[in-house]
């Protein structure tokens, strides 16, 4: 059974991975952490990255591009899915946020859950050893596996 810890261990197997965390972006809470964090404090890092994730998730410019179909319908809600009840929360419109910094790459990957949540995976990647494109794809797969059986 893959849980938070197994998922974080998977993330750390990516080449150049320095540290990772599962974070709730509404509260800034780190639900699980592994490896290093840029400022040596996983909790502070989580609160800071959560703010970035929230800004990205809530900006209409990113959210609207995906589905501008029906303006009468609640503006930012995605198309109805047959496998979900009508009260199910809409999935995140933004998939990930990538920040390239002098001290490394940061990928924030939103995790889509079947229940109401605001969770993302944060990976801190070494610039010389990491492969940003590969890491982004793998992180997406891990995020999916985290909430699937």
């Amino acid at each position: 059974m893959p849980g938070i810890d197994e998922c974080l261990l998977d993330v750390m197997r990516l080449p150049g991975a320095r540290g990772a965390a599962v974070v709730d972006w509404t509260s800034g809470l780190a639900l699980g952490t592994i490896g290093e964090s840029p400022n040596g404090d996983h909790e502070a890092t989580a609160a800071e990255t959560a703010e970035v994730a929230r800004m990205a998730a809530e900006q209409p410019v990113f959210a609207q591009a995906a589905h501008t179909a029906d303006p009468a319908h609640s503006a930012l809600r995605g198309p109805a899915r047959p496998d979900r009840s009508p009260t199910a929360p809409p999935g995140p419109a933004v998939e990930d946020v990538i920040v390239t910094a002098a001290a490394g790459y940061h990928i924030l990957r939103f995790v889509e859950t079947a229940f109401d949540s605001s969770v993302f995976l944060h990976l801190w990647l070494d610039r010389s050893e990491g492969n940003l494109a590969l890491a982004r794809i793998r992180l997406g797969e891990i995020a999916e596996r985290l909430v699937l059986a």
Binding site: M1, P2, G3, I4, D5, E6, C7, L8, L9, M12, V22, D24, T26, S27, G28, L29, A30, L31, G32, T33, I34, G35, H42, E43, A47, A57, E58, P60, A63, S74, A75, L76, R77, R84, S85, T87, A88, P89, P90, V111, T113, A114, F115, D116, S117, S118, V119, R145, L146, V147, L148, A149
Partner: protein, 266 residues
Amino acid sequence: MRPTATTRTVIPEQAVLSPMLQRLAAERATGALMRDRGTLYLADGQVVHAESPATPGIDVLLTTSGALRSEGWWDAVAQAGAGQRVARYLVDSGRVPGGALELCHLGALYDAAFFALAPTHTPARFRYGVSHWIGPVRPVPVDSVQRETLRRRELLDRIWPDALTDSAPIAPTAHPVDAPVPPRQRRVLDLVNGVRTATDIAQELGRSAFHTLVDLRRLAAAGLVEPVRPASAGSASGPVRIELPEVTADPDLALLRRLRDALEAL
């Protein structure tokens, strides 16, 4: 390298919200700490579960969204409730993926703990040996829970420093919605009707109550909602609010007149 549950050994003095909880953690106690607004369940001095009347339980979080059908929940309670392994059963029977259950349960734990650790004058009680039927999921150190609860209080006050928003019925204001409301806040705003409280809205959405508090404080900061202040007029007790006679319906007009008069007098 092992995943860590973000443990720190040094706790600053102000991070101790409940000296009793601190002591129970030190003695690695197992049981239920019952406080005014919620209950924390400990196992070996770690927090394993929390409940509060102010927050939706994990059953509400899972079933409202359709992540789990309510029959599935009740079946798990019937099958594994007596053995106190409901969480384990939900995962093993394939009803809820393991990672999803951990995320949902941790969210519910910190959510209920935030309310359970709210300041109170009622003394707390601890019942040794009691454990919750949800069973083990992902234990959290007491220090983490206390630190997070304090951080959350500060976060709310940074967004909009009006604690009444957390408990009073919330009403929409006449203020026009002049900027786009993010979808998650929109779902909260749609339920604001002057009667529902944050707890009611959280229950209805199947969303963490703390998340709902954050959304409501952001909406309040944007001027879109406001808490319904308890009516003080008409009752014998309490300070009577003196209603000043209204000078004019339009204060701006009155200000302009005064300004004109002042300028003319120069």
